[in-house]
Symmetry: C2
Subunit: 260 residues, 2 copies
């Protein structure tokens, strides 16, 4: 993949509980940071219901549009866990009881515990690569460019850390952040000029209220370190010229994917 | 709209900062709960980049597929705020400097402060209905079935509370929750039977680890109170039959949208 062609990804979050507001998703931010560290740009995310057609549509659209797709949720033992069966249909392949998954799960449970519901967790599309689950054993899987992960954050993270070395990214984006105690409206015009002069750098402006003080977090991101440094200097200069207090935060690479 | 035809919605979260993991979105859960209270089912959410084509594609797909669409983010004064212009293009209408928005913003700033960047916040697609912003004044807008809101949570919430009485929902879904100190694999088979016998009730199973104890939160949701009660009784009975401790939580309506 060329330097001009970024490696891209999409996250599909599967679960009625996220859409009803019952559960606040935390996996998206983790995957966004982790992929960024690998030089993979998360381009889009979707949250879909526990509905076969919704899952099939999202998976088939996104696996064609992006280099990598990561799904979270819906691979447990209960009736509302329909992700594996839906993904088999999305790929037009059979769902099969995977012998390796059965072996892993069989070691986890006594014969009485290893009931049909738990065996269902070994049902995956044929031809997949299993993804190791060091926490609760029930594996996820990879099929083509789609990685199928659980929704429970501690398990999702442990699984991602286990296979991330296999993902092939481009040049990781680095970031710098300049905090200015001013308002977006005051800085916008000069900031737009800096953005025009530094097209290889993505400049974002995020207002905040911190301990009663209004401020703007100006975040610069780029693959090229020299371009990033030049744009950061220009942003710091424009804020200093306004007579405004600034703080530079977050050295590169800004986003660590390791669990805190 | 008939009782069999639920009123549906989609949320489109606009912002590179959410995809990079820099900012954890909290608006989705708020809107999901608030819409649920109004009898509107949030069917899908998308997170897209600050990219004109990405915004246009998401808005045009979702406004055709769902009764309501809510966008968050990208309506501030800086160069990366491109939501209003992108939505004008999605609808094929002109972006215009709205006189009413100019009047509101003009009262907020001194003549020197009211620079071109701040005036840009009055640029909206022609023919929209402005949405009042009681916090920082810069309005959002409604165009057809699309509501365009800011990303800053405190402002987004205040605006939503201001227009929610105008949204037309169906029968609100009510929910009950049974906490069982057992595992999903133990309860799955009996739970699937309850789900089959109570098709009007949506039953979700969410495992948790709380103070070192494994448990499952069994969440039942339905528009019909009698059906909900019957299914909840069946779930409680199945868990009690297993000899497992249960707690019933969250009386109906389970989800409040008012700010805590």
């Amino acid at each position: 993949m060329s330097a001009n062609q970024p490696v891209t990804a999409c996250v599909i979050i599967i679960g009625n509980e996220v859409l009803s507001g019952r559960t606040a998703d935390v996996n998206l931010a983790y995957l966004g940071k982790g992929l960024n560290d690998l030089g993979i740009r998360l381009m889009e995310a979707r949250v879909v219901r526990d509905d076969e057609n919704a899952i099939i549509d999202a998976v088939n659209t996104c696996r064609g549009a992006f280099d990598y797709v990561f799904t979270t949720g819906g691979i447990g033992p209960t009736h509302d866990d329909i992700t594996s069966a839906s993904i088999a249909k999305a790929f037009g392949v059979r769902l099969e009881r995977n012998a390796d998954a059965m072996a892993v799960l069989g070691q986890q449970y006594t014969p009485e515990e290893f009931n049909e519901a738990r065996r269902k967790m070994a049902d995956v599309p044929e031809g997949v690569t299993l993804l190791d689950n060091p926490v609760s054993k029930a594996p996820g899987f990879q099929i083509a460019n789609v990685f199928v992960l659980p929704g429970v954050p501690v398990i999702m993270r442990a699984m991602f850390e286990g296979f991330r070395h296999r993902l092939v990214g481009g040049e990781p984006w680095r970031s710098r952040s300049v905090v200015a105690f001013t308002t977006e409206g005051s800085v916008a015009s000069a900031l737009a000029t800096v953005q025009e002069r530094h097209p290889a750098v993505e400049i974002g402006s995020y207002p905040f209220l911190r301990s009663g003080r209004l401020g703007v977090n100006l975040v610069l991101r780029a693959a090229d370190s020299a371009a990033l440094d030049a744009a950061t200097d220009a942003v710091k200069a424009l804020v200093t010229d306004m007579g405004v207090e600034t703080i530079e935060e977050e050295e590169t690479p800004a986003f660590r994917s390791s669990p805190a």
